[in-house]
């Protein structure tokens, strides 16, 4: 489409020039006002809402969960913008993408026509798709609009400016192209989609290349229990939901509804009061349920759809059969409220003990993540294996794991010190805590605790680490300590037959 035609091939540097609001298009990087601060952001989608265009932008060096729809006046057109690099896809792929594009467009259009009553005043304007192709958003336009005042005028005019009729639809192919362009960063090892799918075909990995993930969030808001949550990422809920202001999710069966009446009706009929599996752990605050993806396919799919809203690297490309889901709940007289969960491969060739791990946003920053992580290691201890979470970790995942690792390692070292046997090898640390040697090294190194002294490596309990521990203990003393009690864990590693392994679990 348009992007391919207008930029000359063989340009290593992105073109920079001034733009008007009407020449802005998907893939353009402009300065956008974010919390009173200008930040470079890439436009991922453009929609017309109530007659004025809004832009879905991704801020550079910010996590995707902060991507958002911004009105035109937050884009600073007084500065030059970067135009997207030309496509690097070969002809065949291009062909394919175009087909998909037309498909998805057709679907999208049909959808919109059914479900949405947008005032399509500009529908029958002369500026159709071919006009868009010829539209050159390059320097000329920019140069003309060098005067910021002019730009503002242009912005105001845009309300009535003819735009292509499908401008407000999320353009799938464009998004993917943009994603591909974004990925073409030097140093990044490109991974084709075929390789990616091949890797996923037999293995259980739940992560996926970024290019595969639709980059625009599709749900506006969700209501779950007594909370309203703003989703972070795209999740393949039914496409119809993209037009709903609110998606209602049943707290117990995790079924989803785009309509409040439907949801209320559902609640009248739903009898589930806890995750549909066996309780394997219960203490005063939380319970854990073990759920087999194969046996509880619908529930686990619902859970995955939900968690995909908050996990960037999760993929729902393949089904949930090869996973077990360990769900943490909080009890009251209404039932067991899902707090968070982690999934685990029934048989992991890489030795991961966690595939995806999530505390639901409404329960975040309350210490539940640590419980989830601890629980995953308690399971590994029973299995007699060393565990590690599947990579890549998210930013929050990394911080959560680092905090847990630091706490247990420092605790163990201080215990050794108190016992009067201040000697321990890295492997012993790992085997005691069911952590991989690599993770132990990672933590020690990160805390600057592994040093070389007197011709020998030594472990140093740094003052900072000890201080952090004391601080934590103090906090626990005040607020009460929340941890998993291994005594209350009634769990045996599930055994799967060879037949189960052959027949997709």
């Amino acid at each position: 489409m348009a992007p391919r035609n207008d930029v000359k091939d063989g340009e290593p540097q992105p073109e920079r020039s001034y733009a008007t609001l009407s020449t802005l298009r998907v893939g353009v990087k402009a300065m956008v006002d974010k919390d009173g601060e200008k930040r470079k952001a890439e436009i991922l989608s453009i929609q017309t809402r109530k007659g004025s265009p809004t832009f879905y932008v991704h801020y550079q060096e910010f996590n995707k969960r902060l991507d958002e729809w911004v009105p035109a006046d937050r884009i600073d057109l007084s500065e030059e913008v970067e135009w997207p690099l030309p496509e690097k896809v070969d002809e065949k792929k291009k062909q394919k993408t175009k087909e998909q594009l037309s498909n998805s467009k057709a679907i999208n259009k049909a959808l919109k026509n059914i479900n949405r009553s947008v005032s399509e005043s500009r529908e029958a304007t002369p500026l159709d798709t071919s006009a868009k192709t010829s539209r050159r958003p390059s320097f000329q336009g920019g140069k003309e609009n060098r005067d910021p005042n002019v730009t503002v005028i242009a912005t105001e005019e845009l309300g009535g400016t003819p735009l292509p009729d499908d401008e407000h639809t999320v353009d799938l192919a464009d998004i993917q192209d943009a994603a591909a362009a974004a990925k073409a960063v030097p140093g990044h090892v490109p991974q084709t989609r075929e390789e990616e799918v091949e890797r996923l075909r037999f293995g259980g990995s739940m992560t996926q290349n970024q290019t595969e993930i639709s980059r625009v969030r599709n749900l506006e808001r969700i209501q779950m229990g007594s909370h309203e949550i703003e989703p972070w990422y795209f999740s393949p809920y039914p496409a119809e939901f993209a037009d709903c202001d609110m998606v209602y999710i049943c707290e117990f069966c995790l079924c989803y509804f785009g309509d409040n009446t439907q949801f209320t009706r559902h609640r009248k009929k739903c009898t589930l009061l806890h995750p549909p599996g066996n309780e394997v752990y219960r203490d005063d605050t939380v319970s854990f349920f073990e759920i087999d993806g194969r046996r509880q396919r619908t529930w686990c799919r619902n859970l995955c759809l939900l968690s995909k809203l908050f996990l960037d690297h999760k993929t729902l490309y393949y089904d949930v059969d090869p996973f077990l889901f360990y769900c943490m709940t909080e009890r009251d007289e209404h039932g067991h409220h899902l707090v968070g969960y982690f999934s685990k491969e029934k048989e992991c060739s890489e030795g991961y003990n966690v595939a995806c791990i999530l505390t639901l946003p409404q329960y975040q920053r309350k210490g539940f993540g640590k419980l989830l992580i601890q629980f995953s290691y308690e399971l590994s201890k029973i299995e007699g294996k060393l565990g590690s979470p599947e990579k890549p970790l998210s930013d929050l995942g990394l911080l959560g794991y680092r905090a847990y690792w630091q706490e247990v390692i420092v605790d163990l070292l201080i215990d050794r010190e108190i016992e009067g046997t201040p000697m321990i090898s890295v492997e012993e640390l790992g085997s005691t805590l069911a952590m991989t040697t690599n993770d132990v090294l990672h933590t020690l190194q990160n805390l600057n605790m592994l040093r070389y002294s007197n011709k020998n490596h030594v472990i140093v309990l740094t003052d900072a680490a000890v201080a952090a521990r004391d601080k934590l203990k103090e906090k626990e003393r005040v607020k009460g300590k929340r941890m998993i009690d291994p005594e209350r864990l009634q769990w045996k590693p599930p055994v799967f037959s060879a037949a189960a392994r052959t027949w997709n679990w």
Binding site: Q210, E251, L272, L305, P389, D395, S425, V458, I459
Partner: protein, 600 residues
């Protein structure tokens, strides 16, 4: 550790970190060496595990830098940095207790649960505002076109409406799986009604027509309840592949090595599974049947009770007074007959009772009893049998039955005993007879006998031989007819020998080598043994003879016990011929076995 030594050590190349080696734990104040770049070089660098593109993210870096600063002892523990996330707020306008009633009580034990979501959410179709509007219209007596309804169905509940809608949706999905792809006309009402099965409640069935009209007007090419796009089959459709909304594809089955054995195994398993499922289904069906009958029974009992109650009322109304207590009995479901008898028994003298009993049973006598008919039939059968026996006796009166003892004369008792003595010596050091004789009551033997006996009987019949009594061929030594003599076969794999009598009184000694267990024991599947192979037969020999034979073996020559031949002397040559003719099959079968040595 002195300062100078530490300085000196700096020039020595550092060793690599050994993860197996115990490391000493120090406090920071206990070592005086400041960390330097050199010491870090030999500790393998460990990656964070976060994707490279995201590792550089602003907020993550801020947190990591703050943590690093703290780890390095910087006291700047100013404001705690964290990663910002989109907001989460309390939902507005949600009456939580209404949506999620307080219906949960924590059980004492850990919950065990296996019902699926589908089991727990009832009808999956949920009505929206539009549906509710239509439903209220429907309940006001109007159909979808605002015209008054002609039927007299009364009120349609929300549940029934949803069930009907759900049925229409599901049936369409089943009848037209590709409706979303190609445009097809919606199935008609007749088609829908034809597809009705037991799962649709009667209420929903009666409401199907008006709901169908509404559904038809509302239905597009898509499902009314939004659903995720799941692909059950492995389609290599590129459009599907790129569609971010398509999810939960099936993973491909890992290929296993295909062998004939595995195929056979799988077939067996599938057959077994099929059988078991079928049995389970039948059981369930029977249970359903039983319970339905029970229900009917209860309903009928109830009706009887109510009718009786009415009768009682009528009696009271009309002032009909029955025998004392009779009215109460009416209401209790039991046979009044025995109760009615008792007062008579108690109250009247025996003679009168006899007569009255006779009077009462008079009509019963006229009835033909089943037992009588059976007795008659039995007698008829007995008579026929007797007549037939007599007839046969008459036929055979002039004949002497040469086949009565076809093979061997009946043996004297005292001769019998030693002949059938077991081969094993009491001290068990001698080989025992092998388990070659099928036990008399084993089903295997019956099979064999049936097969062998049938043709023979036919032959005899055609030759005009007497049919009764049944002919039993006594092959010498083939079956020890005496139960007591028969030793339960033991599976002893030691070498065996046996004595066999052939034509003309010849005597064969056969030795047999060890056979592997698997070949002897049935039930073990092995390729070398087909099912129809007859088990080899062995005859136990007199202990005395065995001793002689052993002596013979020991001394290097085979003994010829004279007594063996002597036993045969009494036989006529005609007998021998009869044996040869009649039992040819058995003999052949025996000769197939490998004779290792012979005597006589």
């Amino acid at each position: 550790m002195s300062h100078t030594r530490a300085q000196a050590s700096r020039h020595v190349r550092q060793r690599k970190l050994n993860t197996k080696q115990p490391l000493r734990i120090f406090r920071e104040r206990e070592i005086d060496e400041t960390p330097d770049d050199e010491s870090r070089g030999n500790i393998p660098h460990v990656e964070t595990g976060v994707e490279k593109g995201e590792e550089i993210e602003y907020h993550l870096q801020a947190v990591i830098n703050a943590a690093n600063a703290a780890a390095l002892g910087a006291a700047a523990a100013g404001k705690q940095s964290y990663i910002p996330t989109p907001e989460t707020v309390k939902a507005k306008g949600v009456v939580y207790d209404d949506l999620y009633p307080k219906a949960f009580a924590t059980p004492a034990t850990y919950i065990r649960f296996s019902s699926t979501v589908e089991d727990c959410i009832g009808v999956s179709y949920c009505m929206n505002d539009e549906d509710a509007e239509f439903l209220s219209k429907l309940n006001d007596g109007k159909d979808v076109n605002d015209e008054p309804r002609k039927d007299k169905l009364g009120q349609c509940s929300e549940d029934v409406f949803e069930e009907a809608m759900n049925y229409l949706e599901e049936t369409t999905a089943r009848l037209q799986p590709f409706a979303a792809v190609e445009s097809v006309s919606l199935p008609g009402l007749e088609e829908m009604e034809r597809a009705i099965d037991d799962n649709l409640s009667a209420d929903a069935q009666t409401w199907l027509k008006p709901v169908y009209q509404y559904w038809w007007s509302k239905k597009g090419s898509r499902s009314l309840m939004p659903s995720i796009k799941v692909r059950v089959l492995d389609t290599s459709n590129d459009a599907d592949d790129a569609d971010p909304y398509v999810c939960f594809r099936r993973r491909e089955v890992r290929q296993t090595r295909k062998t004939r054995g595995r195929d056979a195994q799988v077939v067996e398993k599938l057959k077994k599974l099929r059988l078991e499922l079928e049995q389970a289904r039948q059981l369930v069906q029977l249970v359903v049947q039983r319970e339905q009958l029970n229900k009917e029974d209860l309903e009928i009992s109830r009706r009887v009770f109510e009718e009786r109650k009415k009768l009682k009322d009528v009696k009271i109304d009309k002032n009909i007074i029955g025998e004392k207590g009779e009215d109460e009995e009416l209401l209790v479901n039991q046979k009044p007959a025995p109760k009615a008898k008792r007062p008579q028994e108690a109250g009247r003298p025996a003679t009168i009772r006899l007569r009255s009993a006779g009077d009462r049973s008079a009509p019963e006598d006229e009835l033909t009893q089943l037992a009588d008919i059976q007795a008659q039939a039995d007698a008829e059968v007995q008579r026929t049998i007797a007549a037939r026996k007599e007839q046969h006796r008459r036929w055979n009166a002039q004949w002497e039955d040469e086949t009565w003892r076809p093979l061997t004369p009946p043996l004297d008792d005292n001769d019998d005993k030693p002949r059938w003595a077991p081969l094993a010596l009491p001290d068990a050091s001698y080989p025992t007879p092998p388990p070659t004789l099928p036990s008399k009551n084993s089903p295997d033997r019956d099979d064999v006998e049936m097969q062998d006996a049938a043709p023979i009987r036919e032959e005899d019949a055609s030759a005009g031989a007497p049919q009764e009594p049944e002919i039993v061929f006594h092959i010498p030594g083939a079956y020890p007819q005496d139960e007591e003599m028969y030793v339960e076969p033991k599976r002893d794999p030691t070498p065996l020998c046996r004595l066999r009598y052939g034509r003309g009184g010849r005597c064969w000694l056969e030795a047999r080598r060890k056979r592997p267990y698997a070949l002897i024991s049935r039930g073990v599947v092995s390729d070398s043994e087909s099912d129809d192979e007859e088990p080899p037969e062995f005859f136990p020999i007199d202990r005395q003879k065995v001793f002689d034979l052993r002596v013979g073996f020991m001394t290097g020559r085979v003994a010829r016990p004279e007594s063996m031949g002597g036993e045969r002397r009494g036989w006529s040559s005609g007998d021998q011929a009869a044996v040869a003719g009649a039992s040819g099959q058995q003999q052949q079968a025996q000769q197939q076995q490998t004779p290792a040595g012979s005597a006589g």
